[in-house]
């Protein structure tokens, strides 16, 4: 099956999923008890204001008509006005999304490299002390909630040892680089400001690490188990008998086939990162989409909630497509197999 038809099928499937997701989100934003128009203007507003707003929001029309209006607006990038910031939700998303993306990408890199390194180390020294240490770390990493890691790191490295900054994306005394992409690291590089660049990376480390711990542990476990399975294969034995050093063996022959399950899970974990960012961003006062989303949820800001979920859904679907492509690239059997890819 060609790459193009693979992509085409995935695209059709993704559009379908997004369409379904939009229905789910719409229903969620309408199951709230009470009158959304009354919620929006407050309890003391006169009745005619509420009535006007009801008409504006099409609240008197049947549900499917409301959905139609909501969807056509959303497709044009219009998610309505946020009740909290009193600005168009789309503007808020544009402002806050890059911070979350930067954090999640950084966490993804930590998860991937850290997990694969630890897993390989563990498989290389199976049942030795290094393996045992990695296994204990990965168990604890999987079962500890990200908000506990966040608090722990904040306390230990931020407040007690005072090594790391504890909040925000940049130190206050450093002038902000002009906003181009919204990613602080990229923007400071574009502005030719190395000080801001290193400072923003410095700010990223703790929250990204807290966010990455769960996934990192998961990736280490999976890499370890696939690697140690593959180590018992015939081609490894024949490689050894030819005198290929163990490290070369692991690096050049074993790593690639062993990475396929890890990368599939990495995609899922990256997506889960977007969910856990809700908690970590709160703790590190990170001005991202998730923190915006949590505030919207705590204040029942329906337009903002719907938009945040929809954006995260789109990201999740894109990540999954990318993961499928990478896995297909790594494994020719998947790329060439006819009819797969549902």
């Amino acid at each position: 099956m060609s790459l193009l038809s693979f992509l085409g099928r995935r695209a059709v499937h993704s559009i379908f999923v997004l369409f379904g997701l939009s229905i789910v989100i719409f229903v969620i934003s309408r199951i709230m008890p009470g009158d959304p128009a009354r919620m929006a203007v407050g309890a003391r507003a006169p009745q005619w204001v509420v009535d006007n707003l009801r008409e504006q929001m099409h609240l008197d029309e049947p549900l499917y008509a409301q959905y139609y209006y909501w969807l056509t607006d959303a497709l044009q990038g219009d998610f309505g006005i946020s009740l909290v910031t009193r600005r168009p939700v789309a503007d808020d998303i544009k402002e806050f999304f890059p911070a979350t993306l930067e954090l999640a990408l950084f966490a993804g890199v930590i998860m991937g490299t850290g997990g694969i390194l630890l897993g390989t180390l563990s498989a290389r020294h199976k049942d030795k002390w290094a393996d045992n240490v990695v296994r204990i770390i990965s168990y604890l990493g999987v079962v500890t909630p990200s908000f506990v890691f966040a608090i722990l790191f904040l306390l230990l490295f931020g407040m007690t040892l005072e090594w790391m900054p504890t909040m925000g994306r940049l130190s206050l005394d450093i002038p902000r680089p002009p906003r181009v992409t919204g990613l602080m690291t990229v923007d400071s590089l574009l502005a030719g400001n190395p000080r801001a660049f290193f400072d923003s990376i410095w700010h990223l480390i703790l929250p990204a690490l807290a966010l990455a711990m769960g996934g990192l542990a998961q990736e280490a476990r999976i890499t370890r188990s696939t690697m140690s399975d593959n180590l018992s294969k015939d081609y490894v034995a024949s490689g050894r008998s030819l005198g290929i050093p163990e490290n070369v063996m692991m690096g050049s022959f074993l790593l690639k086939p062993s990475l396929i399950p890890t990368i599939s899970i990495l995609g899922l974990d990256f997506a889960a990162t977007m969910g856990n960012a809700f908690l970590v961003e709160m703790i590190f006062i990170w001005p991202g989409l998730s923190r915006y989303g949590i505030n919207a949820m705590l204040r029942k800001d329906l337009n903002a909630i719907a938009a945040v979920i929809l954006v995260l859904g789109v990201v999740f679907i894109l990540v999954n497509i990318i993961v499928d492509l990478v896995v297909a690239q790594l494994d020719p059997r998947i790329r060439l197999a006819p009819g797969r890819g549902e």
């Binding site: 379908f16 999923v17 079962v143 500890t144 608090i151 969910g275 989303g293 949820m297 995260l312 999740f316």
Partner: protein, 297 residues
Amino acid sequence: MTAEVASQVRPRNRRIESLGRNWYKFSRNPMSIIGLVTVLLITFLAVFAPGVPPYPEHAGAYVDFASASQPPSVQHPFGTDVIGRDVMSRIFFGFRFSLLMGVIVLTLVVPPGVVLGLVAGYHQGSALETGIMRVTDIFLAVPPLILALAITSVLTPNLFNAMLAISLMWWPWYTRLVYGLSSTLRSEFFVNSAVAIGASTSHILFREILPNCVSPIFTKMSLDMGWVILIGSALSFVGLGVQPPKPGLGTMVADGATYLPDQWWISAFPALAIVVIVLGFNLLGDGLRDMFAAEEV
């Protein structure tokens, strides 16, 4: 005579024997035993929470400023919080909410998830299969925590709605698991024979295919107890789960976080409690998986 005795005795013996063999496989890994003991201990503490802890009345809106913010001591092994409540007693009650959440969510989620998976897997290529699996895809397209947070926040935030929201997000995992199993099992010989003798679809689904899916389902349930508790604690950490003054573990971590690092015990012990409970269910689940895997060899 001996043959007669043997035929009478054997079925019971065999059951005991296989139980013993399973126990042997399960207990070969000491971690599984640790998991089992942890889970049993926590269940005991949760069930008898009103009787076990030294200060059961501290679970609610109890105030004793005289003994506020005390570090761990003999009277209060995990210390007291800022209004003088015994942290250990509150954690034991917190286990109650955590386990309750896990059990209720799984009871709500497993039956519909499993049935949908069975049906979709058995009716390969039908519109029914496509419908069920596409809806499953939609629910799996967003990390469960996000939608659970959104649903709870839109409804009134409390324990019941948190459980409802998590359940709404969780069934697709079972559908997908059982779908995979039943779509391979449907072409097995025993299923074909059942079809040939005219067995009804429900007989095939529930008496032929389902029994062969039981071990992965149980393994997943044990692991999921941990994950549901984890997500539940995240919800109460944000303030959308168990509502104060009730002692949710996540709520306690969040409340105590204000007094860090000086009064570390207020949130450190509840956090540790979450880790222990999730770890327990994980070790148990892994033990079950190893046991069932060994069974198939």
